[in-house]
Symmetry: C2
Subunit: 91 residues, 2 copies
Amino acid sequence: MNKKQLVVKLSGALNLSKADAERTFDTITNTILDALKGDDSVKIAGFGTYKVAKRKARVGRNPRTGEQIQIAASQKVKFLPAKALKEVFNK
Amino acid sequence: MNKKQLVVKLSGALNLSKADAERTFDTITNTILDALKGDDSVKIAGFGTYKVAKRKARVGRNPRTGEQIQIAASQKVKFLPAKALKEVFNK
DNA sequence: TTTCTATATGCAAATACTGCATATCCAATT
DNA sequence: AATTGGATATGCAGTATTTGCATATAGAAA
């Protein structure tokens, strides 16, 4: 399912126009992103937690040539599913 | 930031009551979950992709006693941040 | 208040990560 | 509705990182 299909579903479920449904959805993702940018984690009970994980610099390898390369430290967004979410998929 | 705080922000940004904002948010998470339950992945351009990852059975260990235990195969929800998301945090 | 979640522990196995080419797929513009 | 530019999936090798187990406690959320 891509974003367009999701928006169509939301439009029906929320009784909004597609344009409004999309704006609503974008507002939510932007709000979450803003919090993450401020180095805050976003905890959604029953769904999961978004947090920014810091990754240290390390030595990697180009699998094509085999040569070693230096990989810089970086940050990425991590999503940790809530307990309730795991249970849904494991029974 | 927890769910309550997020709902307050959404309520302001979307000009909805808190109750409506929460209902809207829940509708979205439920829609995503339903797709995942149907073994479909949810791809949100500019944000990321939710997908169900299957994890193989393996041998684990009880850290308290040290004894080996068999861990069953399981499934969990994975979130893969979109390229745009990584860039936000790495410059 | 009562339920949920993070944390901490040791350790084996699974998985992520890197560059890059190709194939596929999506979003937006025409 | 069709085209196109951009984003993502895949495969590869080897190492770094993560995962997940049991369980109690502390802290936060409903």
